[in-house]
Subunit: 152 residues, 2 copies
């Protein structure tokens, strides 16, 4: 179970899996997909769970450290995380119009990056690839209004 992994990780550091940390872990894993700390915190609060904003941030940090959670990207509205345990690595397409996030994975693409790293004598540990553009639905709407896709 996830909390077992977290617990072991914490104990190795001489730290404890407290009630607060458990709750935050559970909530983070409850949202299948992407989440941000502020929303997570607000949701927890609304549902009457007790955990401070500080603890949310602190715990997410720990969860990242032990690999159960990962920072996906930073936006103007804060950092986006996602649950990582048992999920395959993937990259993202983000629709500039509706905000939809499409996940994808390409073995080929990953291999290619490894090759490039080798070439540059760089030891890659992680990466983020974000492709911005328009999803199928929005692309059709967007066609008509000409080039310069930087509005709204």
């Amino acid at each position: 179970m996830d909390s077992e992994i977290f617990k072991r990780f914490l104990e190795e550091k001489g730290q404890r899996l407290t009630k607060e940390r458990s709750v935050i872990l559970r909530e983070a894993f409850a949202c299948e997909g992407h989440f941000d700390p502020e929303t997570l915190y607000a949701d927890m609060k609304r549902r009457g769970m007790k955990a401070s904003r500080a603890s949310v941030y602190r715990t997410l940090s720990l969860l990242c450290e032990c690999g159960l959670v990962e920072k996906v990207s930073k936006t103007e509205h804060g950092t986006i995380y996602e649950q990582r345990h048992g999920r395959q690595h993937h990259d993202h397409m983000v629709c500039l119009s509706c905000g939809k996030v499409i996940e994808f994975y390409s073995e080929h693409l990953e291999k290619l990056q490894d090759a490039i790293c080798r070439e540059k004598n760089f030891t890659g540990k992680s990466h983020t690839l974000e492709i911005r553009g328009y999803c199928g639905v929005c692309a059709s709407h967007h066609d008509s209004e000409g080039e310069n896709a930087n509005d709204r």
Copy 2:
């Protein structure tokens, strides 16, 4: 020249290339490589140039809009921009230890992304690929100190 492009872009929008905008454009292009607004502003101020923080941000926005400058990524210390005119698109490797940024470009990688977009019926407009890890110099130092499970 760059300011000609900017001027034309502005005029098309019924706006003017003012003295402030000129200075900011010049300064942004002066730093070969990456820069962030706060540093740019501080440097300009230190060197006695007159342009407010607000103008720096506003102008960078405009420069992005017309493609002369591009947002490279968001870090915990703010947004990183780079000058784009006359420079080929490229992606980045960032050393987690010394902060060095290595630029690279791979035709193959770009083509592959196009293919993936097609496959997902997504109209890609731009992308950012950031590979985090350790550069040659730091990798050797880092070997010995184990831990830090910042896996992928």
